[in-house]
């Protein structure tokens, strides 16, 4: 918990200068570029090793495991 009043005040919604230099046009270019689909994400990853093992046994396929520090699909 962060009961800091100072932080609360800093976070409070307030009038934003309308000349903020990040226009709708710039956003329309930047956002799709940032969020474009990535090839690795089109792979039907599972997060549960036991589910993967059961499906592999059922479909007579090997399991492919990608292991890394953090969460492979969600960090870094």
């Amino acid at each position: 918990m962060i009961p800091s009043l100072a932080l609360s005040a800093l976070l409070a919604a307030a009038a934003i200068p309308q000349d903020a230099d990040f226009s709708a046009d710039e956003f329309a270019k930047l956002h799709p570029a940032l969020m474009k689909s990535e090839k690795w994400a089109s792979i039907p990853w599972r997060g549960n090793l036991l589910e993967a093992r059961a499906k592999a046994a059922q479909e007579q396929k090997p399991v492919f495991i990608w292991a890394m520090d953090g969460k492979p699909l969600g960090s870094v």
Binding site: M1, H31, W45, Q60, I65, P72
Partner: protein
């Protein structure tokens, strides 16, 4: 950060989609887990002879736990991934009469799941306009071009507030402290509360939703980020239908655990969009375990 080179080939993706059952796991979690999944992972990983300093990397195994291939290097991938997948797919013969394991529930005492009614937002970050230290390492080019990934939870009551044209402090704080930063080379070191020098946003009605505008200044010690936010937010029938937001600005410094960082100030953009159903939705925010992640509502 090597996911692009490892899984960036169409044939590799097709092999994984059709010839294997792919699973992505947290190494530290599986090494510690006292359940059947942890036992299975350790059984497979312990069969890999190299490298000795880490169990990170890739494993191809039978459902019974026999290692067929295991590797981590080279990074970036030089075609090894595709070659090993093809070899394993060609040679694999499923054991006769193998039974599918029944119970697939994990027993993780510390694992969190997406809170009921929460929306999951996918977060990406990208560095540009940066002056990097010189390096002859091929891997360094991959590092510089990498995209950071994370998630943001928007709680049910926060979705309701967004639908009323209000950004709750708890949501703004979570977004700012846990997502606005350079995580392209390592997980983001969360910002301390005192690092938030300014964080202001407003929602203005526009069409079926709202336009989000904001400004943020984060500064703590040697690192900081000063950015503008712009976005489109839409809530319909109590559900978050759109959370297309981007932050763009200048960042500086580096957080602990990151060996490479640009000199001086560099452009950092962070994008947000609703996660798709499936593994992307179920992927947890990196800092979900932090006691202050959901600290304020």
């Amino acid at each position: 950060m090597d996911r692009v080179s490892a899984f960036g080939n169409d044939e590799t993706v097709e092999l994984l989609r059709t010839k294997f059952v792919p699973v992505a796991v947290s190494l530290q979690e599986e090494l510690r887990a006292q359940d059947a999944a942890g036992e299975f992972f350790r059984k497979v990983a312990d069969q890999r002879p190299d490298p000795k300093h880490t169990k990170q990397g890739y494993y191809i195994a039978t459902p019974e736990g026999k290692l067929l291939k295991g590797w981590m290097y080279p990074r970036p991938d030089d075609g090894t991934m595709k070659r090993f997948l093809k070899e394993a797919a060609a040679s694999y013969r499923a054991p006769e009469g193998a039974e599918s394991p029944g119970d697939t529930r994990l027993e993780r005492s510390v694992e969190r799941v997406v809170p009921a009614g929460a929306a999951v937002v996918e977060v990406r970050s990208k560095v540009s306009d940066a002056v990097w230290p010189a390096s002859a390492a091929e891997r360094f080019d991959v590092v510089k071009a990498s995209v950071g990934h994370d998630r943001l939870w928007v709680l049910k009551e926060e979705v309701e507030a967004l639908g009323q044209g209000r950004v709750p402090d708890g949501l703004l704080e979570r977004l700012v402290r846990f997502n606005l930063g350079d995580n392209t080379r390592c997980i983001l070191e969360k910002w301390a509360p005192q690092a938030v020098r300014q964080a202001r946003v407003e929602l203005k009605p526009s069409g079926p939703g709202f336009i989000l505008k904001g400004t943020v200044l984060l500064e703590h010690g040697h690192r900081g980020y000063e950015a503008k936010l712009h976005g489109l937010v839409e809530v319909r029938d109590g559900a978050l239908k759109k959370f297309d937001v981007a932050a763009r600005g200048k960042a500086w410094g580096r957080h602990s655990g990151v060996p490479f960082a640009p000199f001086g100030k560099f452009t950092l953009a962070v994008g947000f969009a609703l996660a798709q159903p499936g593994a992307s939705f179920e992927t947890l925010p990196v800092h979900n375990w932090a006691e202050d992640y959901l600290g304020r509502k």
